[in-house]
Symmetry: C2
Subunit: 239 residues, 2 copies
DNA sequence: CGAGGTCTTGAAGACGATCAACAAACGTGG
DNA sequence: CCACGTTTGTTGATCGTCTTCAAGACCTCG
């Protein structure tokens, strides 16, 4: 159900009753993906956008030579390919990192929303703008932070985003990623990812066993990462 | 004049006469910035968006400790802060990298466009989506390419973007950047930037003297970078 | 129980950072 | 137009981060 979408939108602004109805009307069928499955393929021209209802998804680009880079991570309430409404062609694939349920919202329905509900349209636009702000933080991390700060920053970001959609338990959350996959987000090798992780564990900043991540020292983690959550726009404001 | 905006929009879709008029009506005053001046400051809450009319601008984030990272480069026809319409607060500064003329478009006028001209609104949205696509390519470069390929990719991108707005002369264009600034985009030090540049020169891929960049071997530059311009959406399509 | 994936560790080497010095280009004022 | 100071470009040497290769431990699941 697109309740997760309603929730994500209402994190950032208030919806009218009509707008809520329009959102609910736009949603169509839901599909389940297994870990590792492609939700959207590179080169595809979708006629619907995919909204994560539960699970975890990532945008993925592969280089000739085998190098892989994840360019975004998506939690419940996120569209994984809202840009395809206007960009048409997918320039990257989207992968399920865990068992993931996705709701499809037809392009036609989204386009109609831009005509009938300008404010709602601006909120959809906003969601892609938040994606952009997150991209810029990743660029900063990849360009100017070294591995421990990069990892710390990503964990801070994930914690805040998961908290916003009610997917944390105190200071713990579930992160169904292998270390190799985490390396592919941080732009480091799996081996170095492992050593960096051990460093943060040794410093008592986090624990990470199996899929359970716990933040053990939020203050230090935050300052190591120079993390400031403002870029996530997790606040209500008239948009 | 926002002719540069009209041009940028019409690169990607056709406008009606009314839409063209609405664009022209929305523009207000123009301002000149000198090299190095802030066009928008971090933390600011602009009430207008800034459109590059001529010159060159970059989004810039500074870390405590002096590290600096540019997260985007903007050529004529680009908005440098269109996201501020909905994100409100600037999470980074925007800097003029050369003498730059900027046209201000009031947030109120843009918001009115989202109500009166849904199709035009989608094209504005599209411009931020292209920014996002470029961000993802930078993430890929910073994460998985080494310095020579990173530089090659940025030069390919810049060439295509400048060509689209008529700012190239054959295979040459003007790039008023210091090597240190270029390093701040590629996530490398100024010294390494210099050595990487010399490598591309030595291989006969480019020349770069003063502010004049010339691509001497487009095919090899492109293949070194694994460059595919599709992500720039430089084609007309109904949006 | 075996097989494949994941995690962990060690060692060698590549890529890029940093420090330092100097050359070249530029802008400004005399 | 030249003298000067400042910024930018260039080069060498050293050091640190991260990669790669390789091997073994652990773990999960059929």
């Amino acid at each position: 159900m697109p309740n997760s979408l309603l929730h994500a939108l209402e994190l950032r602004d208030t919806l009218t009753a009509d707008e809520r109805k329009a959102v609910l009307r736009a949603a169509s069928n839901e599909i389940d993906f297994k870990t590792g499955q492609d939700i959207v393929e590179e080169g595809e021209r979708p006629n619907a956008c995919s909204l994560v209802v539960s699970g975890l998804a990532a945008r993925c680009i592969v280089l000739t030579g085998g190098g892989r880079q994840f360019t975004a991570l998506h939690v419940p309430g996120d569209f994984v390919d809202l840009q395809s409404l206007l960009l048409k062609r997918m320039d990257h694939a989207v992968l399920a990192l865990a068992p993931t349920r996705v709701a499809r919202v037809a392009h036609a329905a989204l386009r109609q929303i831009t005509v009938d509900f300008p404010h709602l349209a601006r909120l959809l636009w906003l969601m892609t703008l938040v994606d952009g702000a997150i991209h810029r933080e990743w660029i900063l991390s990849l360009g100017r932070r070294q591995a421990p700060a990069r990892l710390a920053h990503l964990l801070c970001e994930l914690f805040m985003r998961l908290q916003a959609v009610g997917k944390v338990d105190g200071l713990s959350f579930s992160l169904p990623l292998t270390q190799a996959q985490m390396g592919d987000m941080l732009g480091i090798s799996a081996v170095h990812m492992n050593r960096t992780l051990q460093e943060l564990r040794r410093e008592g900043l986090i624990s990470w066993q199996g899929q359970a991540v716990t933040i053990k020292d939020w203050q230090h983690l935050k300052s190591l990462a120079e993390f400031d959550p403002a870029y996530l726009s997790l606040e209500k404001a008239p948009r």
